[in-house]
């Protein structure tokens, strides 16, 4: 479903990706493990169609992304990809619940149920300024899940979460795999790769 071959990416003089390759098939999950600053987020942004590699090829649902027009890439991202941020980006003027419903268009009841499952039942009406880092993370995850796209890209979804909540989050993210989706996530700790079918380690 996703295939990245020989991807190179630099930010100015800093080389971030140096011939990176990976593949994730339908119904499978992949964890990209590496220390902070090794380029995990960049790989995930490439896979989420947020940035393009300087060179290399990305195949997504059978399409060579480099050959797509910008509008086609936008449409592919819109239809197929859901993305969670390393630092959750939430609208400060919306409540936790609204940050899910207003951005994804998901029904209120469904969003409230999912947020409650993630332990945010009593935080639905709170704005981001009143939420902890872990709580924001879970709102961001809920948003990605409710978008309903087959490809889930999650940047360090376990950071700021206690083990129990982390497990819950990963279970919800992996639920997509049973419907033929794909999950790619990043982690700093190698132990966090235990939720994935395969692992790529970045130096």
């Amino acid at each position: 479903m996703i295939k990245l071959e020989g991807a190179y990416k630099s930010y100015g003089s800093v080389k971030v990706l140096d011939g990176m390759s990976l593949q994730v098939d339908q119904g499978r999950s992949l964890c990209v493990v590496g220390r902070s600053g090794c380029g995990k987020s960049t790989v995930l942004k490439v896979l989420a169609l947020i940035t393009k590699p300087d060179s290399g090829t990305l195949y997504m649902v059978g399409k060579d992304v480099a050959k797509l027009a910008d509008s086609e890439t936008d449409e592919l991202r819109r239809e197929k990809v859901a993305y969670t941020f390393q630092e959750p980006l939430l609208m400060p003027y919306l409540t936790a619940l609204e940050n899910v419903t207003a951005i994804t268009g998901a029904p209120k009841e469904r969003a409230a149920e999912l947020l409650s499952n993630l332990g945010l039942g009593d935080r639905l009406g709170h704005r981001p300024a009143k939420l902890s880092g872990g709580e924001k993370k879970r709102v961001d995850v809920a948003r990605a899940i409710l978008k309903g796209s087959p490809i889930l890209i999650a940047d360090e979804p376990l950071s700021n979460l206690d083990p129990e909540t982390g497990t819950k989050v990963m279970e919800l993210l992996k639920a997509r795999l049973e419907m033929g989706g794909v999950l790619v996530y990043s982690a700093v700790e190698p132990s966090e790769a235990r939720f994935a079918d395969s692992t790529v380690t970045m130096e």
Binding site: E79, L94, G148
Partner: protein
């Protein structure tokens, strides 16, 4: 799933009230300035123009002193000279005479500086008859109250509000052309100060003719000693008055004077030459400043969190949805501002009353808000909102999602 870009834009407008208030205040100030300043200029000009065209286009030639004793009447050739002056629309020759009123005994006793009293035995008013040859023209007689005299009824019209006494609603002992009469006012005219101050009482023609007899009537009101000249335009009044004065001097009419509403003419000329164009210029400057300020503040307000747009696109929003989101946000603020600007404009206009000194009077002009300016301002602001929204989306497209998201 369908997202509501307009709903999100509305929430942003109402919930980020700090920034919203700043933008609203700037739009209100700019829009109000744009609406009020030229409106005031236009109102002053049209108000003064209306007054000038109604009242200040007249020139009056009158006899100095008691018109009953005017032994030098204006000749037909002199009137023809007046009629031929460039800019003269029409002339109205009138025969005037003094009407004496004898106040009832004891009614008009006034204390003087030395605590003495003076009894006013008689008061003289310049008068004419209504209509007919050498009568006061009916087309200049617009009533402000009462009715025209019933023919033969012994009534008159009060043509001035500066008579010194209240002559309304009472039977008065009077003398006209040496004949004692009993008169009563039937109404008051919406008088033109320049004319009213020179001609205060307008008699029913039939009554006076009956009382005086045709010979005495002809001697009293048949001699032309008063002329009303109507100019085509207020701007010509001064020049016509100069020519009339010159014609009178050439004809040896030393006992006649020429009056016109020079104060109004001067006020109007001053307004048209200076004040009104300044108001319009200020309005345009205000509009320009508003467009710049609103554009800049709007852009800063959405650009300070440019990552919002990046986040929305990364979560599957189309760029056109993001455009709608920003546009809705700014349009909500614009609509709020427009309502407030309308109210502010009305309040400011209400307190921007101007007074102009005119002949024997002053006129008060209360500006009215021209809604055309408000509508024009809103249309311009809609264009500014569209431009800012478009600029934000274009910026994201050009710089890319990754860079936009890194602004967080």
């Amino acid at each position: 799933m369908k997202v509501s870009a307009t709903g999100l834009g509305r929430r942003k407008a109402f919930r980020e009230y700090g920034w919203s208030a700043i933008i609203v205040v700037i739009i209100v100030v700019g829009l109000s300035g744009w609406v009020v300043i030229p409106s005031i200029g236009m109102s002053l000009e049209s108000g003064l123009n209306n007054y000038a065209n109604a009242a200040a286009t007249y020139i009056v030639v009158s006899y100095n002193g008691n018109p009953s004793f005017s032994n030098q009447t204006l000749s037909n050739s002199t009137l023809a000279q007046f009629r031929s002056i460039a800019g003269v629309e029409s002339i109205y020759p009138v025969g005037t005479s003094e009407t004496e009123w004898f106040p009832p005994s004891g009614d008009t006793i006034f204390p003087t500086e030395n605590n003495m009293t003076v009894t006013i035995a008689e008061v003289g008013y310049t008068s004419a008859v209504i209509g007919g040859d050498n009568g006061f023209p009916l087309q200049l007689l617009v009533l402000s109250s009462g009715t025209l005299p019933v023919p033969g009824s012994g009534s008159f019209i009060l043509n001035s509000n500066d008579l010194g006494y209240n002559l309304s609603n009472q039977t008065l002992k009077m003398q006209v052309g040496g004949v004692n009469v009993t008169g009563k006012s039937s109404g008051s005219s919406q008088y033109i100060p320049l004319i009213g101050n020179n001609l205060q009482i307008l008699w029913d023609r039939t009554f006076i003719l009956n009382q005086l007899g045709s010979k005495s009537f002809s001697q009293t009101f048949g001699r032309i000693n008063f002329v009303i000249i109507k100019a085509e335009d207020v701007s010509q009044v001064s020049a016509i008055a100069t020519t009339v004065t010159s014609d009178l001097a050439k004809g040896g009419y030393k006992a006649y004077t020429v009056d016109y509403d020079s104060l109004t003419v001067q006020s109007l000329q001053s307004l048209e030459a200076g004040t009104a164009p300044e108001y319009t210029l200020l309005g345009v400057v205000s509009l320009g400043a508003m467009i710049f300020a609103v554009g800049a503040v709007s852009y800063v307000s959405v650009n300070r969190r440019g990552w919002e747009a990046g986040m929305l696109v990364s979560q599957g929003w189309r760029f056109r949805d993001v455009l709608t989101y920003y546009f809705t946000y700014l349009v909500v603020l614009l609509l709020l501002s427009s309502v407030l600007a309308g109210v502010v404009s009305l309040v400011v206009a209400h307190y921007s009353v101007s007074t102009f000194a005119v002949y024997a009077n002053s006129i008060v002009v209360a500006p009215t808000v021209n809604l055309g300016y408000l509508a024009g301002g809103i249309v311009i602001m809609l264009l500014v909102c569209s431009l800012v929204s478009w600029a934000m989306v274009r910026k994201i497209r050009r710089s890319g999602l990754d860079k936009t998201l890194r602004e967080y």
